[in-house]
Symmetry: C2
């Protein structure tokens, strides 16, 4: 593929970052940010790669819709919700992490109380943003309600939260491959699926196209997790921005621990190929999505 | 007023409880509840009086709309969100309360990790419920997005969460009356306002009617807080289901501590009268709202 992914990711990440900053610049916000706003923006602007919002944008682009302000708002809502889940995951009562992307986690930079509330506020903000997108007609209104419903289900007690419960319960327990895959499908797959779905619905995809993009999302969602597990073993702390080898230290089941390293890499490759196959009916406007799938493996090199 | 409030509150609370139970009875839920579901329903079914959802229902009734399944779903969303805020408020990093409504708080009955996640899940569920209400036409769709927007703003970093930040920062500090009122407007007033607003919008009130119901909500919201402060001094632990005198123990500013008891009771009465005045243009169908306002003072007797 001749597609320049690095330049694409940089451009889209800049657009997402600009849109995220504007959320707190609105006229109704106080001139001096409150402590809760400071805590929210601290984690929101901590250098995330914006993969989920870019997937939302790229899914809409695959259907011919450029990154309009509405798409960017939906993309921001997804990143805001993702940031909430990171802040709460890092809490002392959860993974008790002190470092994230090379910076102190929210409860270290602020305090536990503020970190819990900043997470709550970001989760709430995701729905404030989505519900503020203007709906000109019945179709647009229904699409927004559909996206809110999909995102809330993905984030809820049958999605991310159940995944986190299973993940925490699984420390020092050897999961089966099926259990590991089910846990990841909830903990990380659901939100990646919702990100692509939001872009697909706003891009007014047909039922078939939305289904194909959903298949793409399921495969890259799992591929990302396998790649993360591999990185956790092979990566170095400086590149990752967090301490390498933490999974093993915590006794967590991972793909390398269940399958071995070679088979994990083969599995990851198969998932990426399946993701590409799901996009077979799409034209070159789906190249960003295709390149992102390939990038999952490439980013280690 | 000859209106039988006790019977009204019992009937409506039963309807809300039935609707809340049905959320988790849906066909897609697993037969054996997960631990996160158990934690969610534990606090949701811990004997709350359902004042907020009943205010939503009563506001719609004041406009002539009976408690339809859609109204009940919106009412449940509000109670579910309220329950999240109670669970997180009780956490060790917040108020560190061990008892709520005479029962162990969520993090005592389960654990801190589960309590944080159960709160997160309930907050998310509120938006899942609202976005699942079917919108037949453009008007209904816009109304639902409007309610989601109002509720998320009320719950967010310029609403409940900022109120909680201010409340926690104010321990052992003597607030001015203005600061105390501003804090309560955010911490409890915003959600009471959103509850009434949801009923008013679903009941298809005119702009004037929605404004009048909003004025009613602002006055009873504050009256509830003044009444709570009075109860915290005069109440006994058995009736309240929590330990009396805790506000004084924590060095929190309250209406009795700033105004004295007599003036607090006069202020509370004035607020209730203003709430009743806001309903002057409404007919007898607003009697439930009127009786609830009067009940705020009466419940101590």
């Amino acid at each position: 593929m001749s597609f320049d992914l690095t330049s694409y990711l940089d451009t889209r990440a800049d657009q997402v970052n600009d849109a995220l900053m504007r959320i707190f610049d609105s006229g109704s916000a106080p001139a001096v940010p409150t402590r809760i706003q400071e805590a929210m923006t601290y984690s929101l602007m901590a250098g995330g790669k914006r993969i989920r919002p870019i997937l939302c944008i790229a899914a809409a682009e695959a259907l011919g819709l450029p990154p309009t302000p509405h798409i960017l708002t939906a993309a921001c809502a997804i990143e805001v919700l993702h940031t909430y889940s990171l802040i709460h995951d890092d809490l002392p009562a959860m993974d008790n992490d002190r470092l994230r992307r090379g910076k102190p986690t929210n409860h270290i930079a602020f305090d536990e109380t503020t970190a819990i509330l900043a997470g709550d506020a970001l989760l709430t903000l995701a729905f404030e943003l989505l519900s503020a997108i203007p709906a000109k007609g019945h179709k647009e209104g229904k699409a927004l309600l559909d996206i809110i419903h999909t995102l809330s289900r993905a984030a809820g007690y049958k999605g991310i939260i159940e995944g986190q419960m299973q993940d925490l319960a699984a420390e020092d327990i050897r999961l089966s491959l099926e259990e590991l895959e089910a846990m990841h499908a909830l903990k990380t797959g659901a939100l990646i699926g919702a990100s692509v779905y939001a872009g697909a619905v706003l891009g007014e995809g047909s039922i078939t196209q939305i289904e194909q993009l959903g298949r793409y999302a399921r495969h890259i969602g799992l591929a990302f997790q396998v790649a993360d597990d591999i990185l956790n073993v092979e990566g170095d702390t400086a590149v990752m921005g967090k301490v390498a080898g933490t999974d093993k230290h915590r006794g967590k089941s991972t793909y390398p621990s269940l399958l071995g390293m070679d088979e994990s890499k083969a599995f990851e490759k198969k998932l990426v190929n399946n993701a590409l196959k799901a996009l077979a009916d799409f034209d070159r406007r789906a190249d960003p999505l295709r390149s992102i799938a390939v990038f999952i493996i490439e980013r280690r090199k």
